[in-house]
Subunit: 197 residues, 2 copies
């Protein structure tokens, strides 16, 4: 948590600090990110930074929080949709995509955090949260008869999460709406040919 001094700051200055930090943590994982570069980029003194934050980690976690907060405003729309599971998943991937397109730096920050090896507990916690939501959704979908009940729910979550993560990773290389649809088709229909077709 930032110190009170940070929130007393002139908003313009505070914004400059945030922007420079976001840029740094987007371009470098935590360990390689440099406080010296950040203060250079936003034109404040090194010492000032330590009036605002406890240390480098405190600043980092604050920036990561900002990123996930913004992301949540996008993806939460998907889960509040009153539709079948395929529509929800489609929307979820699409909202992730929009977030990455609208806030590429915040997207990178979140990505770097997920890949990081510091503070595994916090990452693991987020993973469990996401898994719970997903599994609840899956249960309903199975009960409604839309989803193949022979599959292992944990394995389904694993597959969807792995694909979603990589899908987002590759947005920078220009994945588009149509491609997302095709990827989802693979997950929906499976690889094996369907006799019914």
């Amino acid at each position: 948590m930032p110190k009170v001094t940070f929130f007393n700051l002139d908003p313009e200055k505070r914004q400059a600090v945030v922007e420079a930090s976001v840029k740094e943590f987007a371009e470098h994982p935590y360990e390689q990110a440099s406080l010296s570069r950040i203060v250079e980029n936003c034109g404040i003194a090194k010492g000032s930074m330590y009036q605002y934050f406890e240390d480098k980690l405190d600043l980092y976690l604050y920036i990561v929080d900002l990123a996930y907060e913004q992301k949540r405003t996008y993806v939460s729309q998907a889960f509040s949709l009153d539709a079948d599971i395929f529509t929800v998943l489609d929307e979820y991937y699409r909202q992730s995509y929009l977030f990455a397109k609208d806030f590429p730096l915040l997207h990178q920050v979140a990505n770097n955090f997920w890949d990081s090896r510091v503070l595994l507990p916090q990452i693991e916690e987020g993973r469990i949260d996401r898994s719970r939501d997903f599994l609840k959704f899956l249960e309903v979908a199975i009960a409604s008869g839309a989803v193949n009940p022979n599959l292992d729910p944990q394995a389904v979550f694993f597959v969807y999460h792995a694909v979603g993560k990589d899908l987002v990773d590759h947005f920078e290389q220009g994945a588009n709406d149509e491609y997302i649809g095709q990827v989802l088709d693979v997950l929906r229909y499976g690889l094996q040919v369907r006799k019914e077709d």
Copy 2:
């Protein structure tokens, strides 16, 4: 490429250098790996290291090569199998798993390399190679009638690759044979219920 001096070395010493380097590059991504720690761990002088390798990057790429060479001896078995695509993919994932179990440090080295941001071209090259092999296999499988021809081959590769990578990532947390089978079931049958069942 290491210098000739390295290959003239007493094998026992050479092994010590390799082992210490593998350990370091398994525990830290390239940028954070420390030559000072390596030489400390294998008991040779810093200067000696520069008799064996051009620089840190030279050493790193040599170690990465070792890792992939070892991995290839495992996964290549899958592709030489004369079986249907599902058996081959199953075997591919399983061999990746065995490699990670038998050589956890080399597995970590390869993983770190794949996630790294240095030398993107070399990583991209490997990605294209794997994609080519996979797509060729897929073509045959579609022609043979085993695989749903309505799916986009690029999207199929994308999904399988994403899942395979995460599957391997999580081996350390104890994924097992049965779990691999269940994950593959998800990919094979898809999420949507099959009318034929």
